[in-house]
């Protein structure tokens, strides 16, 4: 039932939390991994914060993760740590006059980013709104399920991480396990996260999700092309969120995020905010644009717009 690497990871998660609690009580040493625990458990336990890893240390960490995941999922899994591209700040556009609420993006994201199938985690939530009431979140419906969309009198607004330039979530993290990268993507170091869920409370968009249980991700459904800060399999007890498909968009040339690519109506736009000729700048300059909950001064890099 519990193969080696699974046990390792669970042991690590439990022990890290126990240590933190234990340290407070002054008995932390009792919660350390058992003396006979596998070497990789100890390595994981003493792993530094992602941003403090030297190049060599990072290489070792990635190799350890790759071998653990490959064993767990019975296939070759790659874990990259591709850095941000110079001169790039990612921005996203979503055309509310086009979206039909079909939820293809939700499932495209789940498959690409290895979200837990059970208990269910989805990074994108599509809201059905009344045309008469406009963008009024109190009237939003999440669970709509008619035979066909769009339905009369409604429009649809997918919500996911807004990649705020002034993110409230990163400020509340007591251990700095989440931060904004140079290209504007807000990321989580799953190995550093202690699972306190402060960031979930701080996010005004409901964009962060917690791994309550070991995810049931069928082996054959794993996307083996992963990034350390993105879609690699997550341990239990950590928070995760949309990363603008960091494993795709930081490639050279950069692929579009999975949700952008799967949308059947082309409602989703993605590009470099710093490129004056890019599609994101074009839509900001030429279309009616709004950002969600502007009054909170979170400064999202996710722009809702109306092309017509």
């Amino acid at each position: 039932m519990c193969n080696d690497s699974k046990c390792d990871k669970q042991a690590f998660q439990k022990s890290r939390r126990k240590v933190l609690k234990g340290l407070a009580a002054g008995i932390g040493v009792l919660a350390l991994p058992a003396p006979d625990a596998a070497a990789s458990v100890w390595e994981t336990f003493f792993q530094k914060h992602f941003r403090e890893l030297t190049r060599d240390e990072l290489k070792k960490v990635l190799a350890r993760l790759e071998s653990n995941y490959s064993k767990e999922f019975g296939q070759q899994v790659s874990v990259k740590a591709t850095p941000p591209i110079e001169g790039v700040k990612f921005g996203y556009g979503l055309d509310l006059s086009r979206c039909i609420g079909c939820r293809r993006c939700v499932y495209g994201c789940v498959t690409e980013n290895n979200q837990s199938r059970e208990p269910q985690i989805q990074w994108i939530r599509v809201l059905q709104l009344d045309k008469e009431k406009g963008v009024s979140l109190e009237h939003a419906k999440h669970y709509y399920n008619p035979p066909e969309v769009p339905t009369e009198g409604h429009f649809y607004m997918p919500v996911q991480c807004q990649q705020c330039e002034n993110p409230p979530c990163t400020k509340v993290c007591p251990v700095q396990a989440t931060w904004m990268e140079k290209d504007g993507i807000v990321v989580v170091d799953y190995n550093w996260c202690i699972g306190c869920r402060y960031c979930m409370a701080a996010c005004p968009y409901g964009a962060r999700h917690f791994n309550w249980a070991k995810s049931k991700l069928p082996k054959e459904e794993l996307n083996p092309n992963t990034h350390y800060l993105g879609n690699r399999p997550r341990p239990t007890g950590v928070v995760e969120k949309c990363t603008f498909c960091i494993q795709r968009t930081r490639e050279q040339p950069g692929r579009y995020p999975a949700c952008e690519e799967v949308c059947p109506v082309g409602a989703r736009k993605f590009g470099n905010l710093l490129d004056p000729k890019g599609e994101i700048r074009y839509l900001i300059e030429n279309k009616r644009v709004f950002i969600l909950k502007e009054d909170l001064n979170t400064q999202p890099k996710f722009f809702y717009f109306y092309a017509t």
Binding site: K14, G93, C102, A213, G237, P253, C263, G271, E279
Partner: protein
Amino acid sequence: MKINLRRSLSLAIGLTALGATLISAAEVEKFFDRQGNLVVQEKVEKYKRRADEGTSYPVPPPPFSDGIFPCSDCHAGMEPDPERRELVGMHADIILDHAEGQRWCLDCHNLNDRDSLRLVNGDLIPFTESYLLCGQCHGDKLRDWKVGIHGKRTGYWNGEKQYLLCAHCHDPHSPSFKPLAPMPPPIRPENIRREAAPVAPVPH
């Protein structure tokens, strides 16, 4: 001096001859027809050069119904009939739901060469550039489409892009986007607890 002149003269003549053969080679078109016979024919410049030529909008092949193209396969032997009428028999399945009171087939399809489309100014365009035809009325959409705002564009955000023709999403004869079945809604939180396998106790 004399020798030099003669040399450059002969060089010039040689180059012209070479150029001529190159041009004549380019003017012949070879292809296999439906019966598998090799056809060699003189190439005719059917399509005019356009202002934004060189800007590329790579698109997949137009979404023709099976076996319908080239239209000339059937139309070649038929007498063109420019008279506005309701079609019976062939193409009767096409119901025009696109400003039907104001136009009919030959406002977009070309009378004498069915393998091309025709703009209002009389210019012929290939089906792979049908966006020019749509853009005659929907200029704002064409402008947005070119910069990747209207319609779906795939490829790389900082590299090659792939476009779709208008006709890939909108049936030109009935262009409104057809409704789709939505994918399943998320599981309600209260049901996640019930349906999930025994959830590990929350570590505290």
